[in-house]
């Protein structure tokens, strides 16, 4: 396996079925890009469904988006973009054999993950409180709704918006949590000095995953928060 242990710390031995360490690196990365492809198609299905339903019921999505707060959405966008930068820096410092800086960059990335999920938690709990739940669970409190968005006629199928909102941000949020776990894993391995210019494949792979999470959010933000 690719995690074959070597006797000297920090010196990675490539697995026997690869010609070289470079061959192993390129093969691992190709596998990860194939995985990225499946991720794009998974989220893509939801995006296509969103586009179609948005065209069928534009009013539902317009009113639904009144319940999202652009300030929260924009802040989370900046948080994720910054975490993508620090993730890229983490890989860069591994490539430059600057272990300490790499660990700091990865730690900041994890903290950004916590910040993102914290803001998400504020948003979710507010919606739960108002009864703005997906599908059959929808139990919108008329008084609270009027207090939040004023005198707007609520479309009868408003729950459709929240089905999309919770499904898309929920699946994305699960990816953020998984990403945070994976970054913690590579950060610990970086602390142990397992990575350097000759071997940093796991950091690069986890980085690809984290950037994909950012990529999905880049589309989710205008779609859910800025619907006109």
């Amino acid at each position: 396996m690719s995690t074959a242990k070597s006797s000297t710390p920090g010196v990675h031995q490539h697995a026997h079925h690869y010609d070289s360490a470079e061959h192993e690196y390129q093969s691992s990365k190709q596998g990860l890009w194939l995985f990225m492809c499946t991720e794009i198609l998974m989220f893509g299905g939801l995006f296509v469904a969103y586009i179609i339903f948005h065209n069928m019921f534009p009013e539902t999505f317009k009113v639904g988006s009144l319940f999202t707060d652009v300030k929260y959405g924009a802040t989370n966008t900046v948080v994720l973009l910054f975490s993508s930068l620090t993730m890229a820096l983490g890989i860069h410092y591994c490539q430059m054999r600057q272990q300490q800086k790499a660990v700091i960059a990865l730690a900041v990335t994890i903290l950004c993950g916590f910040a993102f999920m914290g803001i998400k938690w504020l948003e979710y709990s507010h919606k739960f409180h108002m009864g703005l739940l997906p599908g059959d669970w929808y139990a919108g409190n008329a008084e609270m709704i009027a207090a939040e968005i004023g005198n707007v006629t609520i479309p009868s199928n408003i729950a459709l918006y929240f089905s999309f909102y919770f499904m898309m941000t929920g699946l994305h949020g699960v990816h953020v949590l998984v990403g945070m776990g994976l970054i913690t894993w590579v950060m610990i391995r970086t602390m142990r000095g397992e990575f350097g210019p000759h071997f940093y494949t796991p950091v690069e792979g986890v980085g690809l995953f984290w950037h994909l999470v950012d990529l999905v959010w880049i589309y989710l933000f205008p779609l859910l928060y800025l619907v006109s």
């Binding site: 690196y25 198609l41 893509g44 973009l81 690809l208 950037h211 800025l226």
Partner: protein
């Protein structure tokens, strides 16, 4: 540094293209600027093109993340083809779904 697309270098990691730090900071700055633009343009009404504008800006941001943060600009052709095929089949899914649903008519049986 220069021979980035030849990946059969048996000597390992030394040949990997390392993106200099200032490039990362510039890309980050561009991404933040584009986010500000995304929010700002919602105050302008482009009519039917509102969605196109939002989607266009998001795609520029996505391209920057893929190209620089995910190193695809310096990666080999195979990985670029893999990701392009994912995007291509997503467009196929979108196109035929819209074609199907957009052309449905309610038919009442005369029987």
């Amino acid at each position: 540094m220069a021979q980035t697309n030849t990946n059969h270098d048996a000597h390992g990691g030394d040949s990997h293209h390392i993106i200099p730090l200032p490039t990362y900071f510039k890309i980050f700055g561009a991404l933040i600027a584009l986010t500000v633009i995304t929010v700002a343009v919602t105050k302008v009404d482009f009519g039917a093109f509102n969605a196109v504008v939002a989607f266009g800006i998001a795609s520029v941001k996505a391209a920057l993340v893929l190209g620089y943060f995910m190193h695809l600009k310096y990666d080999n052709l195979m990985n670029r083809v893999i990701i392009a095929s994912g995007v291509f089949f997503l467009i196929v899914l979108w196109f035929f779904s819209v074609l199907d649903i957009g052309t449905r008519a309610i038919v009442t049986s005369p029987l």
